[in-house]
């Protein structure tokens, strides 16, 4: 019996090792398709299937809009078949796995961001098409290079910092802004806050009126981190914060602005400025409570309006502000944290001209203007008006001297698990500003080894 068992066990091990040996590494080893000539690619657009990534979820007006754009292309190019694939956050792991296997979408999101070191690899490995030759061509409708169509503020996101090649074209902008309930502000005679002192004064007035000043979610740490991110932008400055948190260059104790920012955040917490029960509130519920008038303000991405379109009361008066300036702050007082939602093209796409045509059509002034009006998306294309659902957003963007990368690139860094949990502890009242700084210092030194 012992011999039989040994034989069986041996067979199983041999079988599994053989299978393991057959497994091989990642990647399909396919050779890249020859990109079309930059000068004549529009004449090369032909039918056939392509798969394009889209950010809106099924059943939304935003997706319906994009489907209409796709239908227009299919009508103009017989045989063209554009398949929409959900490419937002929750789908990314599976889609990235497809890219690793050499089967990436023809057009996809989140594959490149020139301001995020962790996202340069796809471009460096040759997986993405360099779009610069195409963007340099003169657009027949405007008579200017296609690239000139985009706001110069987004070029840093589109462009590889060292090679200067372009791997992403923005379909929309996501800006971190302070939304406020203008009706509620008027009702209580409160002025929308331009400075941090205004913000804390507004919080006091709302508390006195029995309204929670600020809606925030406690169940998604990066959204609480928007507060520390923006405060540090004002008290420390983008470059220094990015270096310390994401790159591990220097320590968080080097600049007193980090502690000052945490103390400011603690001040808000100690005023009970955040939504009652925010610790157990999901972001959808927090956003809904803001639109129900249960809180005066919410710091959120500009996608808030299109995302919550179905629950915003018709008479709701929405206001939009840039994050308040900090008097005496040594950081950037006028810059904004933002993300350009970039579309990239697979270098292995079997139909690169049609993929480029999708990008061209989505980013055309005509489509972007309709999209801003109907869906409420903020455009990165020059000459496109602000969405009517986001009154004043164009003024806010115009006042910003620079757009800086949201989250400092932390979301794809191992420092994310250090920074945002500590900020959550501060907001939850589990530690004060000094203890938060010490914990951040310890954690960052551990992950960055400095």
């Amino acid at each position: 019996m012992k011999i039989t068992r040994t034989l069986l066990a041996g067979s199983v091990v041999v079988l599994s090792l053989a299978l393991a040996a057959c497994g091989g590494g990642g990647g399909s080893g396919e050779s890249a398709a020859k990109p079309p000539d930059a000068k004549s690619w529009q004449q090369d657009v032909k039918g056939g299937p392509i798969e394009v990534g889209v950010l809106p979820a099924a059943g939304t007006r935003s997706l319906k809009f994009l489907e209409e754009v796709a239908a227009g292309i299919e009508k103009d190019h017989p045989g063209a078949d554009l398949k929409m694939t959900f490419a937002n956050t929750k789908a990314r792991p599976a889609l990235e796995q497809r890219w690793r296997a050499g089967d990436g979408l023809d057009v996809d999101y989140t594959m490149f961001d020139g301001t995020n070191e962790a996202l340069l690899e796809w471009a460096d490995s040759g997986a993405l098409l360099d779009l610069k030759p195409y963007l340099d061509q003169v657009d027949t409708t405007t008579g200017k290079p296609w690239l000139d169509q985009f706001s110069p503020a987004v070029l840093q996101f589109m462009q590889h910092p060292s090679t200067k090649k372009i791997y992403g074209v923005p379909s929309e902008l996501s800006l971190q802004v302070l939304f406020y309930n203008a009706g509620l502000f008027k009702k209580h005679g409160i002025t929308p806050p331009a400075t941090w002192d205004d913000l804390t004064a507004a919080a006091d007035r709302f508390k006195a009126a029995g309204v929670d000043p600020i809606a925030v979610t406690g169940l998604f740490e990066p959204y609480m981190g928007m507060w520390s991110d923006n405060i540090w932008l004002r008290t420390v400055g983008y470059d220094k914060v990015h270096d310390v948190l994401t790159e591990g260059k220097g320590n968080i104790t080097d600049d007193p602005g980090f502690l000052k920012g945490l103390e400011m955040l603690q001040g808000l917490r100690d005023k009970n400025a955040f939504l009652k029960g925010f610790e157990g509130t999901d972001f959808t519920a927090a956003q809904a409570q803001f639109f129900q008038g249960k809180a005066g303000m919410i710091l959120m991405g500009s996608w808030l309006v299109s995302e919550m379109a179905d629950v915003i009361p018709k008479d709701f008066e929405l206001g939009v502000l840039q994050f308040p300036a900090v008097t005496g702050g040594t950081g950037d007082q006028a810059s904004m944290l933002a993300t350009a939602q970039l579309m990239s093209v697979s270098a292995k796409s079997a139909n690169i001209p049609l993929s480029l045509e999708w990008i061209r059509r989505v980013t055309s002034v005509e489509t972007q203007t309709r999209r801003a009006g109907e869906i409420g998306e903020v455009s990165a294309v020059k000459g496109v008006s602000s969405p009517p659902g986001l009154p004043g957003i164009s003024d806010v963007v115009a006042k910003a001297d620079r757009l800086q990368a949201s989250y400092y690139g932390l979301l794809s860094s191992k420092a994310k698990d250090v920074v945002y949990p500590e900020i959550a502890k501060l907001l939850f009242g589990k530690q004060d500003a000094r203890q938060t700084l010490d914990s951040l210092d310890k954690g960052l030194r551990r992950v960055h080894g400095n």
Binding site: M1, T4, L8, S11, V12, V13, L15, S16, L17, L19, A20, G23, G25, G26, G27, R92, P93, E96, W99, R100, A101, A118, L119, E121, W122, S125, A127, G218, L219, F220, E221, K276, G277, F278, E279, G280, T281, D282, A285, Q289, L411, S412, S413, K414, K416, D417, P421, E422, A424, K425, F428, K430, R446
Partner: protein
Amino acid sequence: MHKAAQRRIIIPFLIPALALLGVFFLYPLVKTVDLSLNEFSRTGTMRFVGLDQYRLLAGDPDFFNSLKNTFLITLIGSGMLFPPAMAIAWALSQRIHGERFFRFVVFAPVVLSVAVVSLMWKFLYHPTLGLINPALKSMGLGALAKTWLGDPATALAAVTFVSVWHGIGIWIVLLCAGFERLPTDVLQAARIDGAGEWRVFRSIMLPMMRDLLRMLAILWVVQSLQSFAFVYILTGGGPFGSTDTVGTLMYRIAFDRADFGYAAAIGVVLVAVMLAAAKILDKVMKRDDLQY
């Protein structure tokens, strides 16, 4: 001669099972060990680093926190699961009116998807919009109202409760089957001898079901050590890591950071921990077989 022939006959019948075991367990296991010895880039290229990932793991406080939470879920969950499951199964094994209806009620949550159950409980737990806190307040128990998922003191238990609520029907069905297998003549004899129902339960039923309970305990430990979906949807591992399990940590490292080598090392350690826990539990609970 006859026995040797019998053994030879068994082998062809084992091959399909062995092939499945090889393809779906041993191959992934060997492959995971292989992955854990490498460092990955975001694009999937790998570089052999030997045991470096395991050395990093040994000094990673996030890993030990997630391991602690995983064991806590196992422990707290067993307290939430087995006593009520046993009580309900015992009750359902009695002749009660509407027994089939009650069986349906306790089994119903099992057929719901994890996502649906999680979203429903996320709403029920909501501190101001949910149903639990207002219900407690209306009963004069406002002091017990909590921010269930937002408080590190209650979040782990709250998530574990949802997981138990969802799956308890299966355990009840298994325990019901155990009760039904018990020899009625032995139970009748005890009752005729004057034993009360509690005495019958404690001194006869429980000892006779020991093998089943041992198996269920091992199954629970293995299942709860793999906790992932409920935690991922309800809290994402928060607040500040208080519900982070080995499963959620491994997922985050693999897919947020594309650090597949490190995630594979965590997976290998988890498999080792599960095998060890199952073996220890089996040894501790093992008694001589009862034949009935």
